[in-house]
């Protein structure tokens, strides 16, 4: 540490001294004022570099200044200490110090000291939401400094006034004061950086995005030239906030992460929390609602505890919007009412307008249209009306659409589009175009409406293209489906089957297609490619620790009975670990740059080229609560828009799963008791046939192979076991499945390495002893297979063995926790192989069989994005998969697998599986035993 002016004493030395030693220090100083000024300067610097040390050393400085009885030194020491306290969010302590300083300065009648104190008051008062008091102090400081011709300090006073005006929602006044300050203070990089940052925030309030971004970037450049990491972190966070509001979500997340890494070691939890709340706003925009709720919740606790009134109210507004998106409308209303009341309490008008507009959205969702409109009136007529005009117009357009006032809705939207076109954020633009499309449709202008909805979708796709993470893209599209669904409904009305098909494909497993094309990063790849960045290295270390703990948790879960007390605790721990791992992966990925490659969805013509002439495709979808299907056969597209209700689909899926579980529980039954279970299962599978197969059958009955692209819950349904009262569908056709039609050519184009060797991995135990038999039998049937058994089947050995394989067969235990699809896993000899481990495999187009429980189950997110082992294996390069929909019976699975591999069949793996299933069902009539497996890809 530098010594104080004229001495070699540091604040740390001073802190360690006894009273006698301090008195001696003053006595021996040639210039006590210079000594104290030097120590005060040290405290000021420490505030920016080591806040904890600064707050702990401050009392020693104040004590020394009091002992010296030098007025300006006593005032300076207190003002500087109060500044440190404010930075540490200890505002009450800061105000007490300043009251003392004010008394000392007033008694001495020194105008400069008085000005110094008044200026120091501004920050803690403003942070506590006492804006009027803060303005009074700042104006007093400016006047006092001007009266003594200290124009630099007067400029700092203007800077503070700008901050307060902005906090209370008067951005124009704020910018005026910042400009005054900047004109006097250019040249001091740190000060200039702070002023540019503040000015940018005010510009942001006025939706002057481009000017704001320029100011933020100037601030970042200036701060980068100074040692003020904290200031840099805050501006990075502010820029991230700006980018998020503009819909540049990926860039926003990257800057938030940079800021967060810089903030992590900081001792000002309030600012980190503010940053967290702003980051949560972006998460909300991306559609990661659960993550946003959690981040808002964590931030709010800190903001409330440290008295950040304005920031807390803003976070509360975000939380209310999340609750509304989750359908918790009453809770949302209460949260937003509180936010509005908090903003009103501190006279923060911009925030109040935001809270009122958010509340109006909730009222609209509740159907309280008049109340919602009245709130938009309040905002429009308030002094924020002109700033919030776009948000007001969007809300009013939605209200008018609900009221079927289409022409007025159109006028409202057009007024914004015509005047604000250049400055509109892409997110807003997409919304406005969609509203415009709906309004045009209401007015009977169908073609124009379709064009606008398509334009809206183009905006959504453009934003989607900027998002680089698997989760981000999935969440984003899943959250923006309304225009796509509307377009689908319009195509259905026209009975345009080709168009219906193309719209379905534009929303079906799109991110999986991107993943398979290699265009976005996968969780595990992020971790493997550590760049040695210090901030990143500790995140990677933490991630490794969490993943090890998660694997141990899987081990403990294995074999634990479903009703045992510890199981729920272990499952809960597993979910928490999974959540923390996903958050860390997201943070590590945020600052990486990956190539952007997009898998384009297939169009109708492309599909016709991709399908062999003897194949029929059945692709299911949901529109307006009804399950429909497109059948594609011989270049013909036929659509059925209403096969059964979505609710009935869910019930049917659950009933089939129930009968499967009953069948497995009754495995030891025989005679009438066993027949009863077969009868029950067949009855449900007959319902499946009647609802989803029979109405389509005339269109595909000449085909010799069916490909099914399910939708939503139907991904858990064994279509091959659909029963027509006489036979099962698989007895008439081999079936294969695909997450979407767009994946068909992708899977077929995969670099097949069928000539590669076969790898059989078998991990048997006392619960499933037939695994060993199966593995040995397959190794013999498939010849020259690499056999990895039991303890030899380690994760490392598997990684190495599969790299050049043409076929990989896993016979082992599997698990799929439905609430936590990233915890889907297969048991190996040394550990569990999770979804993340599978992502890291290099499969090079091989065929994969997962002869294990539930290995083909997936959590199906909006947009039919599958999360589980299927996604992981396809992403790792598998060209086809045979895997299971439910828990599999050890003995019947061995039998099925042995039969299947003996039936080497040129027609492909789906045909091999179908042959084996037909043989098995001859003597194992219950579908629980013969029907769990299905084939993805493998059509020929």
């Amino acid at each position: 540490m530098d010594g104080a002016q004229g001495t070699s004493v540091s604040l740390v030395d001073l802190h360690a001294m006894s009273d006698l030693e301090r008195a001696e220090l003053l006595r021996s100083a040639t210039d006590p004022s210079a000594l104290l000024a030097g120590l005060t300067s040290q405290l000021s610097n420490l505030t920016l570099t080591d806040l904890t040390l600064a707050t702990s050393l401050a009392p020693a400085l104040i004590g020394l200044a009091d002992s010296a009885a030098i007025t300006s030194a006593r005032v300076d020491a207190r003002a500087t200490a109060s500044n440190a306290m404010s930075y540490a969010n200890r505002f009450d302590r800061a105000l007490l110090l300043l009251e003392e300083a004010r008394e000392i300065a007033a008694a001495a009648t020194d105008l400069k000291d008085q000005a110094r104190v008044e200026l120091a008051f501004v920050q803690p008062l403003a942070r506590l939401g006492r804006f009027s008091d803060a303005v009074r102090c700042a104006e007093a400081a400016v006047r006092l400094y001007q009266s003594v011709d200290d124009l630099i300090m007067a400029a700092k006073g203007n800077s503070n006034l700008g901050v307060i005006h902005r906090m209370r929602g008067d951005a124009e006044s704020a910018i005026r004061h910042f400009d005054l300050a900047l004109s006097a203070l250019r040249g001091d990089l740190a000060v200039e950086a702070q002023l540019e940052s503040n000015r940018a925030e005010a510009l942001l309030d006025l939706a002057r995005f481009r000017e704001a971004e320029t100011s933020f970037r100037r601030a970042i450049d200036a701060f980068s030239e100074t040692p003020h990491r904290r200031g840099l972190a805050i501006v990075e966070g502010n820029l991230a906030d700006l980018l998020g509001r503009q819909g540049r979500l990926q860039a926003s997340i990257r800057h938030f992460e940079r800021a967060q890494r810089m903030m992590e070691d900081d001792e000002a939890p309030g600012d980190a929390a503010r940053l967290g709340a702003e980051r949560a706003e972006v998460l909300l925009s991306v559609g990661l609602i659960d993550e946003a709720v959690e981040t808002f919740g964590q931030s709010l606790k800190v903001l409330d505890a440290h008295g950040f009134a304005n920031e807390a109210a803003r976070a509360r507004t975000g939380l209310g919007l999340c609750q509304a998106r989750l359908g918790q409308l009453e809770a949302a209303e209460a949260t937003l009412q509180q936010a509005a009341s908090d903003f009103a309490g501190i006279d923060a008008r911009s925030g109040l307008a935001d809270a009122h507009l958010a509340l109006a959205r909730v009222l609209l969702e509740q159907g309280r249209l008049d109340a919602a409109w009245a709130l938009t009136d309040d905002v429009m007529n308030g002094d924020r009306g002109h700033v919030k005009r776009v948000e007001i117009a969007m809300l009013r357009a939605r209200i008018l659409l609900e009221q079927q006032e289409y022409s007025r809705a159109l006028e409202t939207v057009d007024a914004v589009l015509n005047t604000d076109d250049a400055g509109l954020r892409p997110l807003t633009q997409a919304d406005l175009l969609y509203h415009r499309g709906r309004a045009l449709l209401g007015d009977g202008m169908r073609d124009a409406a379709i064009a606008e909805i398509e334009a809206s979708i183009n905006e959504i796709e453009r934003i989607r293209g900027t998002l680089l993470g698997d989760r981000l893209r999935t969440a984003w599209l899943g959250d923006q489906l309304a225009p796509y669904q509307h377009l689908l409904a319009l195509a259905l009305e026209e009975n345009d089957a080709r168009r219906v098909f193309e719209v379905i494909e534009s929303i079906k497993s799109r991110t999986l297609l991107d993943v398979i094309r290699g265009g976005i990063e996968l969780a595990d790849q992020v971790v493997r490619v550590s760049r040695g960045d210090a901030g990143e290295a500790h995140l990677v270390r933490e991630l490794t620790t969490l993943r090890t703990e998660l694997n141990l948790t899987f081990d403990r879960l294995h074999g634990t009975q479903p009703d045992s007390e510890g199981r729920e605790a272990l499952a809960r721990r597993s979910r928490l670990l999974e959540r923390d791992i996903a958050t860390l992966e997201g943070r590590i990925a945020a600052t990486r740059r990956f190539g952007e490659i997009f898998g384009r969805p297939i169009d109708a013509t492309g599909l016709c080229h991709a399908l062999d002439s003897d194949v029929a495709l059945l692709e299911y979808f949901v529109s307006n609560g009804q399950v429909g299907a497109v059948v594609v056969r011989d270049g013909q597209f036929i659509v059925h828009g209403s096969l059964l209700s979505e609710a009935a689909m869910h019930e049917m899926t659950e009933r089939i799963a129930f009968q499967v579980d009953r069948g497995l529980a009754g495995a030891s039954r025989s005679g009438v008791r066993a027949q009863r279970l077969v009868h029950h299962a067949q009855r449900e599978l007959q319902e499946l046939h009647q609802a989803l197969i029979q109405p389509l059958e005339d269109h595909f009955d000449t085909a010799s192979h069916l490909i099914v692209a399910p939708h939503g819950a139907l991904f858990g349904v064994p279509f091959h076991a659909a029963f027509d009262g006489t036979s099962f569908l698989v007895e008439r056709y081999p079936l294969s499945y695909t997450p979407s039609s767009s994946l068909l050519p992708t899977l077929q184009d995969a670099p097949q390495s069928r000539a590669g060797r076969t790898v059989v991995i078998g991990v048997a135990d006392e619960l499933a002893p037939e695994i060993l038999e199966e593995s040995l039998a397959l190794a013999e049937t498939l010849r020259d297979a690499t056999l990895l058994l039991g303890a030899d089947a380690t994760l490392d050995a598997v990684r190495e063995a599969v790299a050049d394989a043409g076929l990989v067969h896993f016979a082992t235990h599997g698990a799929f926790p439905s609430h936590d699809p990233f915890a889907a896993r297969l048991r190996l000899g040394d550990q569990w192989m999770s979804v993340r481990d599978v992502y890291a495999l290099e499969l090079n187009g091989c065929a994969v069989t997962l002869s294990a429980c539930e290995a083909g189950r997936s959590a199906v997110l909006a947009g039919d994005e599958l999360f589980g082992l299927i996604r992981a294996f396809l992403a790792a390069g598998a060209s086809s998969m045979i895997t299971s929909l439910w828990a599999v019976h050890d003995e019947s699975t061995r039998e099925l697998m042995e039969t299947m591999y003996r039936t080497q069949n040129a027609a492909g793996r789906a045909s091999m599986l179908a042959t084996a299933q037909r043989r098995l069902l001859e003597h194992r009539r219950h579908p629980a035993f013969w029907a769990p497996f299905f084939c993805i890809g493998g059509a020929s």
Binding site: L557, H558, G559, T560, Q561, P562, D563, E568, E654, R655, F658, D661, R662, L664, A665, G666, A667, R676, H680, R683, E766, L767, A768, I771, A811, T812, H813, G814, A815, F816, P817, S818, H819, S851, A852, C853, E854, A887, V888, H889, D890, E891, T893
Partner: protein
């Protein structure tokens, strides 16, 4: 369970029907000698099982009185529409919570299933834990002989009178969502009532 002893209803029924292992049965008999409440309960259950599990066109007044005694003792007042005269206690025949039930499966059980049988019907329960902490019970009542009787299912939490009630569909299936606890499962098939006492759910 009972305030005067901690023997479950199922254990007593097992003792009465001879399904309890001999050593446990002997211990129970010894306990009953020293515990009047337990002895009364064993006697009541034995008499009702004897009286009502045999097909009888016209149960005697005494048998009905004993049935009511049992109902008061164990079930409390049956809800309206559940006919005490035809009461039958069902036996547990499948329980996937038994560790041996995992044998032969290549995975972990996340739900558990229980099956109970009486002479004319089987009740199957499939229990899963919901994220919010409640339990989802999907079940099916199989009536062995063809029957058009309506099937009603009620769950009564031990020690409480309130019922969680539903009607089974035409395939005998039903579903309920309940808090984890011990319940009596009461099933009515026409005029007959089947009781599955003290089922732990969750």
């Amino acid at each position: 369970m009972n305030a005067d002893h901690n023997i479950t209803f199922e254990t007593i029924v097992g003792h009465v029907t001879g399904e309890l292992p001999a050593d446990q049965s002997a211990t129970l008999a010894q306990q009953a000698e020293a515990n009047a409440s337990l002895a009364r309960m064993i006697a009541a259950i034995r008499s009702v099982i004897t009286a009502l599990r045999e097909p009888q066109d016209n149960p005697t007044e005494a048998a009905l009185a004993r049935a009511r005694q049992l109902i008061d003792l164990q079930v409390g007042v049956l809800p309206f529409g559940f006919e005490p005269a035809g009461l039958v206690i069902a036996e547990l025949v499948e329980d996937t919570r038994d560790p041996s039930s995992m044998y032969g499966l290549r995975g972990e059980a996340t739900a558990y299933q229980l099956s109970f049988e009486a002479d004319y019907a089987e009740v199957h329960l499939h229990v899963t834990s919901e994220a919010g902490g409640n339990c989802r019970v999907r079940g099916q009542v199989d009536v062995f002989e063809p029957s058009n009787d309506d099937i009603r299912v009620a769950l009564r939490r031990s020690g409480r009178e309130a019922l969680i009630e539903t009607e089974a569909d035409d395939t005998g299936q039903f579903k309920l969502e309940v808090e984890p606890a011990t319940y009596d499962v009461i099933v009515s098939v026409g005029l007959r009532t089947l009781l599955v006492p003290s089922v732990e759910i969750g």
